[in-house]
Amino acid sequence: MIPAIDACVSIDPFVGETSVQSPVAAEPHRPVNFRFDSKWLVIGICLVVVGFLALVPFGFMIWQSFLTPETADVPAKLTFSNYITAYTDAETITTLFNSMQFALGGSLLAFVIGTALAWMNERTNTPMRRLFYALSIIPLIIPSILFTIAWIMLASPKIGLINMALQSWFGLESPPFNIYSMWGMIWVDGLHYSPMAFLLMSAAFRAMDPSLEESAVMSGSSILRTLWRITLRLAIPAIVATVLTLFVRAIESFEVPALLGLPAGIQVFTSAIYQAIHQFPSQLGLASAYSVVLLLITSVGIYIQAKISSTGGKYVTVTGKGFRPRSIDLGPWRYLTTGIFLLYFLLIVLLPFLVLLWSSLQKFYAPPSVEALKHLTLDGYRYVLGSSNILHALLNSLWMAVACATIVMLLSAVVCWVVVKTKIPGRWLLDNLASLPMVFPGLVLGVSIMIFYLTFDIGIYGTFWIILLAYITRFMPYGMRYNTTSMIQIHKDLEDSAAMSGAGWFTVFKRVILPLLKPGMVAGWIYVMIVSVRELSSSILLYSPGNEVISIVIWELWENGQYVELSALSVMFILLLLVLVMIAQLIGKRFGVKEA
């Protein structure tokens, strides 16, 4: 099967190739073993780059976690003291407990919300569900830091709008919600990542062949029994994989624990790492020791998830035949489910956006009132648009996102080709190497890259190159995933026939492989670009004054208490991201990008 490719992709058919190839007779005696094929040069470079990106900072960080801090006159010594400090401390136990509670709570909340919505969307006749599916991507576009800040404005005990509204309506003594708590953290994180659960579970529901359920019903099973014995059992791999994905993501989460947990004294691993580095002097060894454990947790999670996905074969619910999933007629209840959709959309998009919009129009932050309405001003926007610093950061973010996405997609295309299309021994290792950064929480990646380039100063520490490097490393696995899916669909014959036509490896790659990969590559490029623009947790350890990116500027504004300017920037940033996504989808349609 070849993905649909749009007719307007045109390639000039009359471009001559520059590589010189000699006819058969000219060189009959070139020995096999000494023949140098330039394709190995490209492939070799890609392999070295991937191996370097994936392994070196990581290995170095582990090494570093066994060293004492190095100062001007005391050289570093080998020690276990970092681990001893880190793991004999009662606080670490609390941190571990907090991390687990937060990650489990957040992932389960996201899963429950997401699964319920996915079921309503895929298996019922709820009105407007198609529209809802299209809208579900919006919350994922809003960066975590903005979502968290918006919810602080909604539910903090002092300035939270929801608290104030409820207090005045019901005459409550104290604010009913406190966002600065474990429950607040779980709520914000779980809510923000519920669309991820929604998309994953929707796909699982959609991929399920209804004839599997129908045959159970035909065998005499009741609807409930079918749901229990068939539907849920079939969905188990998808459920476990989804929960693990959400768990790993939640334990890596930095924005929510930093903004909500630290003020309340609730520490998780990510915030502990951040604090270890930001004390004076920096506790790099301690941060590494924390990072290693965090890395262990995420590795185990991703390992189990990969195991489930690969052994999921017997659960294959996709038969390849087209089928139309049934939907259950909910009767009048369908208005309730629509109501749930609307409430959800209100909580996850509308309220956060509106509160940011409101506060962006103030001179000093004030809750909405008739009085405050009189003082609306565009000063916040004037400040943002007038600040060369912010403009600079925005341009930084944009060009880095474009560069990162381009490099990641091209690099992973070559790696993918080696993994999927060749029989080179050890290619599985390459596949795993390129996907290894998946287990790196952003903050841990930041720590390891920082330590490495501090030690081996090749002049990129403190420049934007180090941030770009972090982005490429971090998002390489996404590139791999997008490219692998498309690469598998390209029949080997398409390449072979180009070789039989006389084309060399470069020509085949450029004229056949890349154009056929284009749908997947464009989709991946868009995705990597968007996640790069939003990236905070790696950048925050690697930036230096003068080369901020946009997410760092937001962070700094928050630290400085410039809420109005922050809100104005947030509103514009969210709108910019929305426009970017829309343009991307338009381009995507042009190139026949499939829905992920």
Binding site: A7, S22, E27, R30, V32, A498, S501, G502, L516, K518
Partner: protein
């Protein structure tokens, strides 16, 4: 023109097992001839073809074109596929979906060592598209062609460089029956007209018999028999070839009597006595197997007038009407014998019937 000597090729399967796909394959194809590699799936025919193409790297052997080695394990020569200058049509056609019909066909002229001007490319591509009747569709998206058209486009692409050798890997197997028959004639016509040396891989014996100058039947990586279509069909050298190349009856027997004077031998078999021309090194008592093609098994409602022993009485067990022919399954003693006759034979099921076949229409092997 093409000479393959002692070719061995192995590959590693998806499960990591090393498969010996071609074992000691040798053959020679004169210029302008169509040579077919015939065999069941997994017999190594496609691997052999891909080794000739250079898409598979053999482990041992010699492949020469006009005496020039394109692969030689002894001399360490391996010409990459893109420098061999062969044309190839793949089983999946491998039409590039992101190009138009014209772009697909012009690709080989653009990427090869030899440079062409735009006008030359246009002229030659249109001519080759003309020859496969695709010229009117030249600016169409390649994916919007029908199966038969895609097949012809794949052929046009293989022919556009006027290669010295054309490789065809089951080119007709993805077409429906009717189109397959039509394309068979077209392929034969084009091959004979251009006089282009062709290696054809198929598992379809009727295709092989219809198209080839010479056929090599392969099994388990080895060439079992080589010969003209007639030789392969009428004089198979063993049970495998006999069975593979068309329907056939196998009758177990043993040698009963050798008559050197009359040059005949008589066998005692499952169906009764069988008389055959005498063959070398057969002794009385040898266990043998007699093969007789269904079209050589004749039926008659009345006792036939013949001058040999090969006549039997049986009961009609089943009939299958195939249109141009009628297949009878006749039970002689406990043995079912298949006979393919003209549909005018009307004997109903369950009725007795006379069966006979010519001694020269049989092939006999010793039991292995």
């Amino acid at each position: 023109m093409l000479k393959v000597t002692g070719l061995f090729t192995q590959y590693v399967s998806d499960k990591g097992v090393v498969v010996q796909a071609a074992k000691d394959v040798s053959f020679e194809v004169p210029k302008g001839k169509l040579f077919t590699l015939l065999g069941p799936s997994g017999c190594g025919k496609t691997t052999t073809l891909r080794s000739i193409a250079g898409l598979e790297k053999p482990t041992q052997g010699l492949i020469e074109v006009y005496g020039q080695a394109v692969y030689s394990s002894a001399k360490g020569v391996f010409t990459p596929p893109n420098q061999r200058g062969f044309g190839m049509v793949f089983q999946s056609y491998a039409i590039w979906p992101h190009m138009t019909v014209f772009q697909n066909a012009s690709f080989p002229m653009e990427v090869g060592a030899k440079k062409f001007t735009t006008a030359e490319i246009k002229e030659r591509v249109m001519r080759v598209l003309e020859s496969v009747e695709l010229a009117p569709y030249h600016d169409r998206d390649a994916t919007r062609l029908s199966g038969g058209q895609q097949q012809r486009l794949a052929l046009a692409r293989a022919l556009v460089m006027e290669p010295q050798l054309l490789l065809l890997d089951e080119p007709l197997s993805n077409l429906d029956a009717k189109l397959r028959e039509k394309m068979r004639f077209e392929l034969k016509k084009i091959q004979r007209e251009l006089n282009i040396t062709t290696i054809y891989v198929t598992h379809d014996q009727s295709e092989a018999l219809a198209l080839s100058h010479e056929i090599a039947v392969m099994s388990a990586g080895r060439i079992v028999q080589r010969g003209t279509p007639r030789e392969i069909y009428e004089k198979p050298i063993d049970k495998f070839v006999a069975d593979f190349v068309g329907a056939i009856n196998f009758i177990d027997a043993s040698v009963k009597h050798l008559d050197l004077q009359q040059h005949i031998m008589v066998l005692e078999s499952e169906v009764g006595l069988i008389q055959l021309p005498i063959q070398e090194d057969f002794k009385v008592g040898d266990a043998v197997q007699v093969c007789v093609r269904p079209e050589n098994v004749h039926l008659s409602d009345t006792p036939p007038h013949i001058d040999h022993l090969n006549r039997y009485e049986g009961i009609v067990d089943q009939k299958i009407f195939l249109g141009e022919v009628l297949d009878f399954q006749v039970k002689i003693r406990e043995k079912l014998i298949l006979s393919r006759v003209h549909p005018t034979q009307l004997t109903p099921v369950g009725q007795p019937i006379h069966v006979y076949f010519d001694p020269r229409g049989c092939v006999v092997f010793k039991m292995q």
